[in-house]
Structure formats: C-alpha cells, structure tokens
C-alpha cells in the first residue's frame, strides 16, 4: 500500500512525520503540516470523546486520489496523510496532513486543499460522546462551501 496514506488506531508523532518528509529531501525548502485534534466543546456541549468509523478500502483510495489531484495542481514534493479511527479522547490527535515543496506557496495551498477535500469526500464518520449522550455528527454546509472554493 501507498506509504503516503495511513489509517490507524495508534497515535502519531509530529516530529517523526516531519522527519520523514524532510529526510533525503534537500530540494524542498518548505514543509507545511496540519494537525487536527479532538475539541472539548462542540455546538455548545461538552464533549467527552469521539469515535471514528471509516469505510476500509474506499478511504485509502479516495485519499490517494486527492493527493494525486494536489500533485497535478501544485508543484509539491512529499505528502503524508494520517487519519486515526476508533475512540479518541479530548485533545488527542485525529488527523495529520504534511506537504513539502520548494517554495512555501505550493505546500500551503496543497495542504489546505487536501484537508478541505478529505473533510467532504473521504468516508469517515464521527460519533461524539457528550454530556447528553452519544450523537453522530451532521455534515456541515460550511465544509462543503470551503471545498467548493477549489473548483
């Protein structure tokens, strides 16, 4: 399997991922990383934890396709996308997107593009555990609007 995408239960280390993006890669002067974490509040409710489900097989293919599109659109070097699944507590890391490029503009734009498309295309679903019980999150139209800005 393609080593640019990892779907995993285990946590990841930002330092290790940056080291992977930078090792033997003297051509790229820019490294842009994004990390998403579990917030303690959502829609006014205190969140205790999240459970993340995905569609194995389709998720990996879709993320690989998003990365291919980003590479066609921007002059970028290495890419890494990690998404965790299973139960995650407040403050835990959920998602990582790392992109390198020779100059910063391409890495910034490609990173944001990958994250915006992951949000609206990749088959992951979050269930929130709040003070009022369990709830599957609804998709947000603001996320769709954000992704459409790229088209």
């Amino acid at each position: 399997m393609n080593n640019e995408v990892s779907i995993q239960e285990d946590d990841f280390s930002l330092a290790d991922e940056v080291a992977f993006l930078e090792s033997d890669n003297a051509i790229d002067g820019a490294v842009v990383t994004f990390t998403g974490r579990v917030r303690n509040k959502n829609e006014g409710l205190n969140v205790t934890a999240l459970t993340l489900e995905h569609y194995p097989g389709m998720t990996e293919k879709l993320l690989a396709k998003i990365i291919t599109t980003a590479k066609e659109r921007w002059d970028i070097g290495r890419v890494k996308v990690i998404h965790r699944i299973g139960r995650l507590e407040i403050g835990e890391q959920i998602v990582f997107v790392g992109v390198t490029s020779q100059h910063r503009q391409d890495a910034f734009a490609a990173n944001e593009f990958i994250m915006d498309y992951l949000k609206v295309k990749a088959p992951f679903w979050k269930k929130e555990l709040t003070e009022n019980g369990e709830k599957w999150l609804d998709a947000k139209s603001s996320d769709n609007n954000k992704a459409q800005q790229w088209s």
Partner: protein, 82 residues
C-alpha cells in the same frame, strides 16, 4: 449476488452492517434500494432518505448507476471526518 454494506448512523439505525441479495431484477442503485425495502419494509424511511450517499466498488455513484452481480454497494450518511 450483490454485497451491500452500511456505515455509521445508518448501520446503527438499520441494525445491520452488511447483507447479500440475489441480483435478479436489480439493474440500478435505485432498484436496489427498492429491493432492500421489500426485504425489510421497516427500513423504508432510512433507505429513502435523500441525503444518503452510495458507492459501488469504492466509487461514489448516483441512483441511476447500473449494478451488477459481484459488486460491493455501500450506503452511508454524509461524511464527517477530519
């Protein structure tokens, strides 16, 4: 046979994560939905929910998309990862 898989809130509401149906007379995603409702009438509202997304063999498709024996069809709610 057609393999059908369900995810997330839909999986929980149906109480079913996957099943197989004989592919006779099922030509499209919309016809498969009708076959599922005939199979389990109490699923009607959940299956007819127009926010439901569908994929064939890991590719997103619409209701008119053809279905054939051996396909894996997935139904799921709008995605909320990241």
């Amino acid at each position: 046979m057609i393999k059908i898989v369900f995810f997330a809130a839909l999986r929980e509401q149906l109480g079913c994560s996957e099943l197989s149906l004989a592919s006779t007379n099922i030509l499209t995603i919309n016809q498969l939905k009708q076959a599922l409702i005939e199979h389990q009438p109490q699923w009607q509202n959940l299956i007819e929910n127009n926010t439901l997304l569908s994929a064939i063999n890991h590719e997103m498709v619409d209701g008119e998309h053809p279905v054939k024996s051996g396909d894996e069809i997935a139904f799921f709610p709008p995605v909320t990862g990241g």
